[in-house]
């Protein structure tokens, strides 16, 4: 999908088109695989929190308060791949 196509989808509020693009991106062109990758990342994010470890909430809150939305969105994509990598199930042909 081209950038123009995606911007038009935003203008049209075509959320199905947009989430399909995200799935294709995460699934290397396979939408079903991409859906599983999203689930995989969330599962990996959930696991380390189950034992309630101490976390750096000050860092989190400061980051959310002080960083621009573009940086935070970019971080969100980084975190997806971080947790997918951490799962040990890497479907991509290449590497980060």
């Amino acid at each position: 999908m081209s950038l123009d196509y995606l911007k038009q989808a935003v203008a049209d509020k075509d959320t199905e088109c947009l989430i399909r693009y995200v799935r294709l991106h995460f699934g290397d062109g396979n939408e079903t695989a991409g859906r599983k990758e999203i689930d995989k990342a969330w599962i990996e994010a959930l696991k380390p929190l189950l034992d309630m470890p101490a976390t750096d909430r000050e860092f989190i809150l400061t980051t959310l308060a002080e960083k621009d939305v573009g940086t935070l969105a970019h971080l969100y994509f980084h975190l997806h791949f971080y947790f997918v990598k951490r799962s040990g199930e890497w479907i991509h042909d290449g590497d980060l």
Binding site: M1, S2, L3, D4, Y5, L6, C17, Y21, V22, L24, H25, D28, G29, H74, F77, H78, H80, F81, H92, D93, G94, D95, L96
Partner: protein, 170 residues
């Protein structure tokens, strides 16, 4: 099954005539048409007198340089200079979209830096430009790609007075 054909289609030959349709079904809106065309330049002197540079979408980069942004949903529009006298151990690959198993065993399969140095040493080529150029091929903004990345690399190639740019998609 992969389609193959040796039939000519106008002035071009499409080896996989179903490919564009497949791409368009998988990534709607990704097909780009352009009305302008820059014709390929003809060599004005023998290869043995030419300076050659190499331009690659492989995501190969010097170790220690900022990794290509492989996670951004719209792509990375930066490039890296790769000194043409680098050895494979000086380099690494950052990209998600092609298999790197072979390239990690022998970088030359995707970024033939040793082979190009060999043919320059043998005299088949005049010399190599000081730098080769590398970027990643996952870029969704074709206009930005042309306006920034392609122009920046073209300027860099021209600044090093290369006679030939060998282009290799990964």
């Amino acid at each position: 099954m992969m389609e193959t054909s040796s039939q000519s289609n106008g002035d071009s030959e499409q080896l996989r005539p179903g490919l564009w349709q497949t791409v368009n079904e998988r990534y709607p809106g990704s097909m780009i048409t352009k009305d302008d065309l820059v014709p390929l330049a003809r060599l004005k002197k023998p290869l043995s007198e030419c300076r050659l540079t190499f331009v690659s979408t492989s995501g190969v980069q010097p170790k220690g340089s900022l990794p290509f942004d492989t996670v951004h949903p719209v792509g990375d529009y930066s490039f890296r200079r790769v000194p043409s006298n680098s050895i494979p151990d000086d380099l690494e690959i950052h990209q998600l979209k092609y298999p790197t198993v072979g390239a990690k065993k022998d970088l030359n399969v995707i970024f033939p830096i040793e082979r190009l140095n060999e043919i320059a040493d043998e005299g088949l080529l005049g010399e190599l430009a000081p730098d080769f150029f590398s970027f990643i091929g996952y870029n969704m903004d074709a206009e930005r790609l042309e306006r920034t990345l392609a122009e920046d690399i073209a300027d860099a190639v021209e600044a090093q007075a290369s006679d030939i740019a060998l282009l290799a998609p990964a």
